[in-house]
Amino acid sequence: MELPLELIWNSLPIILEGALRTLEITLIAISLGFILGLFAGLARLSKKRVVRLLATCYIDFLRGTPLLVQIFMVYFGLPQLLGSFQTFMMDTFHIAQIWESTHINPFVAAIISTSLNSGAYIAEIFRAGVQSIERGQMEAARSLGMTHVQAMRFVILPQAFKRIIPPLGNEFIAMLKDTSLLSVIGFEEMARKGQLIIAQTYKPFHIWLTVAFIYLIMTFAISRLVDYMERRLKAGDDRR
């Protein structure tokens, strides 16, 4: 079989445009997920049972259900919920319409669903990282009169952060691949771009192969980058 190089070449700009969006949504998901994960991970270790329970519910629900279903819940489910809420408010309190339309645009739905999802995974990464720090570190910090929050901030988290870089890298790669699921709500990341090109060119094999190859380049580059960061931190430790 001959490779239709010209077709691939011509599709490349559109696919790469999709690749950029893939990268963009992944970066957003991981960044917001990082913040969410930090708080959820710490909440999971809280002494207060209610806090722990809430965090556990969030983490287990998002890790225990498919991202695809979560995307659907946000994109299709949330508008319905907002609509019902609006109707309820209008009927009960006789207020004006709150939203013109409860439709959520795919980009917003993509951000919400992927961030919530990665937040749950990153929470577990943070929890494990914090738990891997010797108990004596917290005790030493507390014995000096630091509050729990100060001890976390200045003693525990800086050490934990170094240790969680590899699993964070893995989460980044996993999320980068999983964002392809966003194609189902019409968010135009790389897989969606691939579908759109195929609809016009009827060359699924070549286009999907190209798309796959670009995913591979991206994940490979990221895993190299993470290795490099890990080595540099190790080297930093050795120097000391």
């Binding site: 010797e134 004596g136 030493a140 507390r142 000096l144 009169g145 630091m146 200045f154 000391r240």
Partner: protein
């Protein structure tokens, strides 16, 4: 200075402290000895509330620390603690280890804190190690930095939990020398240690603990020279 009344501590069903009564006067050096598992560490850790007493009362300068209103973070600033395993912060230099709490807890300016830090490093004989990270220090040096770190909060009492047990024999002396100096300067100290030389030289009183109780107490001469209790005698015969 410190008064302990009928202190009990349970870990779940296990009764580790079975009614401790004792007092420590200002400028006194009290040495606690006893077999492994007898509750020495737990007793010490109750004094700065790293462990929460199950029942009983502890007064520091007349203030009950077990009362609900007591601010434990302020209490802990007055009670310096030195751990068997040093527990220095590995991501901070020797100087930063010492200055972290004064800056964050006492809100000293960095230059004030550095000044204190440098003078404490000089005091423990580590003037030239200010910018060195813990993994470049020997055990004896680590423990001396840890002592300096505790002193930086200007505590009224220093608690030592087997400060030389994790050290190679040739490094024990340098740590004990620092502790002897402290004792001579009039620091109130509670020291869990089996260094009999130290107990004899600077100890004002020795407490012998066994199975969660203070079984015998007296001057070092009495306890080491002429122990009355059978268990004290058999313990001393094993370690001397």
């Amino acid at each position: 200075m410190i008064v302990v009344k009928n202190l009990h501590k349970y870990f779940d069903k296990l009764e580790v402290l079975r009614g401790i009564d004792c007092h420590v006067s200002e400028q006194e050096v009290v040495v606690v000895i006893g077999p492994s598992g007898s509750g020495k560490s737990t007793f010490l850790r109750c004094l700065n509330l790293l462990e929460e007493p199950t029942s009983g009362e502890i007064f520091i300068e007349g203030t009950s620390i077990t009362a609900k209103e007591t601010n434990i973070n302020i209490l802990r600033q007055e009670m310096g603690m030195v751990f068997q395993r040093f527990n220095l912060f590995p991501h901070k230099t020797a100087l930063e280890n010492i200055t972290l709490a004064p800056v964050q807890v006492k809100r000293l300016s960095r230059s004030e804190a550095n000044e204190i830090g440098h003078s404490l490093l000089a005091k423990v004989g580590l003037r030239d190690k200010a910018d060195v990270y813990p993994d470049q220090l020997s055990g004896g040096q680590l423990q001396r930095v840890a002592i300096a770190r505790a002193l930086a909060m200007k505590p009224k009492v220093m608690l030592f939990d087997e400060p030389t047990s994790a050290l190679d024999p040739e490094m024990v002396g340098e740590v004990l020398a620092v502790m002897k100096n402290l004792a001579r300067e009039g620091m109130t100290m509670v020291v869990v240690t089996h260094e009999m030389g130290f107990a004899r030289e600077v100890g004002d009183r020795v407490l012998f603990m066994d199975e969660g109780k203070i079984v015998e107490e007296g001057t070092p001469e009495q306890i080491f020279g002429n122990p009355r209790n059978e268990r004290t005698r058999s313990f001393l015969s094993k370690i001397l």
